[in-house]
């Protein structure tokens, strides 16, 4: 752009940047900043919070009880991510090498549950897993058929809901598409001739996957891992609806501080610890990405 319409350009910049910047600041950064400030505050009276610069909330947050819940959330999210990666990789692979038409359908098939309301999907799982759910119903029916021939004790429904495995099952169910889509995007960018070369040179399919495809697609795999891990770590609905009393994750504890226990400063400290954890994950991924880029 030539210098004469510098003023004009500046006006355009203000006109385009102004509204989103204003919105982001007022309705996102300010609320976050307030939560951050509250995390250094303490309750005085019922609704007053005095920002006293105390670290007491963070000290409370690293007590064994809450540290344990943090640890548990990380383990759950990690387990969910690993299962999604193992289950999703072959799916992404199949989609990548599918013929064009099939590929479009498969992608649609992965995206539809992804778009479906999270609450509805969780509700659907409850209907499957509960005591009188479809799985137990089927098992009960089989049991009854067996009972006609053999003498068996009455059927006791498997308890598949309100426990930790149910939460993990739910997390995988919800987050699997999160993993498949970035994996597919990464695999689709690969140079196929490299895979063919590896196969031609005598490596088996498994070895080709491990030694050629996975290293080449690593950035995509990492972003898939991140995209799955972060929401799984902060999952609220799944442990709330599918979990039992002992399967709370960190988001449930945060919710309780804000909605029931009314200890906002402590809840704020927990939220920010979760946020810092998220930032660390993003930073690590960016670092790995950059190191690979530098090579």
């Amino acid at each position: 752009m030539s210098g004469e319409n510098w003023r004009q350009e500046r006006k355009t910049l203000l006109a385009t940047l102004g509204p989103p910047l204003f919105w982001l600041t007022l309705f996102f950064l300010v609320p976050l900043a307030v939560v951050w400030a509250y995390s250094f505050g303490r309750n005085v009276g019922l609704t007053e919070i005095e920002i006293s610069g105390t670290f007491a909330n963070y000290a409370q947050a690293i007590q064994p009880l809450y540290l344990g819940i943090f640890f548990k959330s990380i383990v759950m999210a990690a387990a969910c991510t690993v299962i999604c990666l193992v289950a999703g990789f072959p799916v992404a692979l199949a989609i990548t090498f599918a013929p064009d038409k099939v590929k479009a359908w498969l992608l649609l098939a992965v995206m539809l549950p992804f778009w479906t309301n999270l609450l509805i999907r969780t509700y659907a799982l409850i209907a499957v897993l509960r005591d009188e759910g479809y799985i137990n119903l089927t098992l009960g029916w089989i049991w009854k058929q067996v009972g006609l021939v053999l003498n068996v004790p009455p059927f006791v429904p498997l308890e598949m809901l309100h426990n930790n495995p149910a939460v993990l099952f739910g997390l995988v169910y919800v987050h699997l598409p999160f993993m498949v889509l970035p994996l597919y995007a990464a695999l689709d960018r690969l140079d196929r001739s490299l895979i063919e070369a590896s196969l031609d040179l005598g490596a088996g399919h498994f070895r080709t996957m491990m030694q050629v495809v996975v290293p080449l697609a690593l950035p995509g795999i990492l972003s898939g891992v991140l995209i799955t891990f972060i929401p799984a770590l902060g999952a609220y609905l799944t442990p709330d609806l599918l979990g039992g009393p002992d399967s709370q994750m960190i988001a449930n504890v945060i919710e309780r501080q804000f909605k029931r226990a009314n200890d906002w400063p402590f809840g704020a400290a927990l939220s920010f610890l979760l946020l810092y954890l998220t930032f660390v994950m993003v930073a690590v991924q960016a670092l790995i990405q950059r190191r690979r880029g530098a090579r």
């Binding site: 350009e9 940047l17 919105w23 609320p31 599918a98 509805i120 409850i126 169910y173 699997l176 799955t228």
Partner: protein
């Protein structure tokens, strides 16, 4: 906001990628002399992978399909099939609080979509066109609503509307939805910005310069050259924002006052009590809506598919 929306980026990437190597492989596939033996890269034609796809497909779809099927079940207990009925739909559609919640959700989604598209497009244009001080910081801040866990954003909104900007109670519709709409815009417009920016990358600036040389003002060039180019991404971004808003539970749960109920919040309170066919019917309606939106969104992101259909 959780990652759902990275699919905006992804969808764009996927749409781009689809015209690349896929065509080559299709060509290779047809060139192969014997089509009955799978080629080395025809992973889809190997049975272990096919089996795996079927298992994953069942895992993803069986719960949803049973949910939909049982919305037609003529039994209150919702367990054993007792015959076909549409009573639950009648019941769901005459349940005034459910309808109100559904109406609220659609209004919120519509309002938030309009604002998100405008803000997102403006942000994308600003980031694409200008270098300004603090650009990296702004980009980082724009990525935050996409990355941070929903619960963190939820509590931030709760605190904000409780202490910093208290929203008056008992306002008339749609003003009573204000806080929810504002919260939804905050997590939706960065997604729109990502989608629009991806599209801007393919814009040929000489077109705009030509328009200006031919006497168009800035505003005219923007309206008649840039906007038409961006149109597919604006539509895709709008659909993304709409679905994100319709889908959101956690942030709404924290932002909603006691007297504003959205569809997910309503379903949540119903689910807490019991599993009833009425919830199945209401869910089925929402699923159908989602499917339609997704199909439309994919059509707009993938012009080739439209052409081929």
């Amino acid at each position: 906001m959780s990652a759902p929306g990275d699919d905006g980026v992804l969808a764009a990437e996927i749409a781009d990628a689809q015209f690349g190597p896929a065509e080559v492989s299709a060509a290779v596939a047809t060139a192969r002399p014997r089509r009955n033996t799978p080629g080395p890269l025809d992973y889809l034609r190997r049975w272990p992978l096919q089996l795996w796809l079927v298992i994953v497909g069942l895992f993803l779809y069986l719960p949803l399909i049973t949910l939909m099927a049982f919305s037609f079940n003529d039994s209150k207990r919702n367990i054993v099939w007792r015959g076909f009925t549409t009573d639950w739909y009648v019941k769901a559609l005459t349940d005034s609080s459910l309808l109100e919640a559904f109406g609220n959700s659609l209004s919120i989604a519509a309002l938030s979509t309009i604002a998100s598209v405008i803000l997102g497009a403006l942000a994308a244009v600003a980031l694409w066109r200008f270098d300004f001080r603090g650009k990296t910081a702004f980009e980082g801040a724009m990525a935050m609503p996409i990355v941070i866990p929903e619960i963190c954003m939820g509590v931030a909104m709760l605190v904000f509307f409780a202490r910093i900007m208290p929203w008056p109670q008992d306002l008339v519709w749609p003003f009573n939805l204000g806080p929810i709409v504002i919260a939804h815009i905050s997590f939706s417009f960065p997604f729109v910005a990502v989608v629009v920016r991806a599209r801007l990358a393919s814009f040929d600036r000489s077109q705009e310069e030509a328009a200006r040389d031919l006497g168009a003002t800035d505003a005219q060039a923007f309206r008649d050259v840039l906007i038409p180019h961006l149109k597919p991404s604006l539509i895709a971004g709008a659909l993304l924002a709409f679905t994100l808003s319709l889908d959101d539970f956690v942030i709404t749960f924290f932002t909603a006052g006691p007297d504003t109920i959205t569809f997910p919040v309503k379903v949540y309170s119903m689910v807490r009590f019991s599993v009833t066919p009425e919830v199945n019917a209401a869910s089925t309606l929402l699923i159908v809506l989602t499917v339609l939106l997704t199909v439309v969104a994919l059509r707009f992101q993938n012009p080739k598919e439209v052409a081929g259909a």
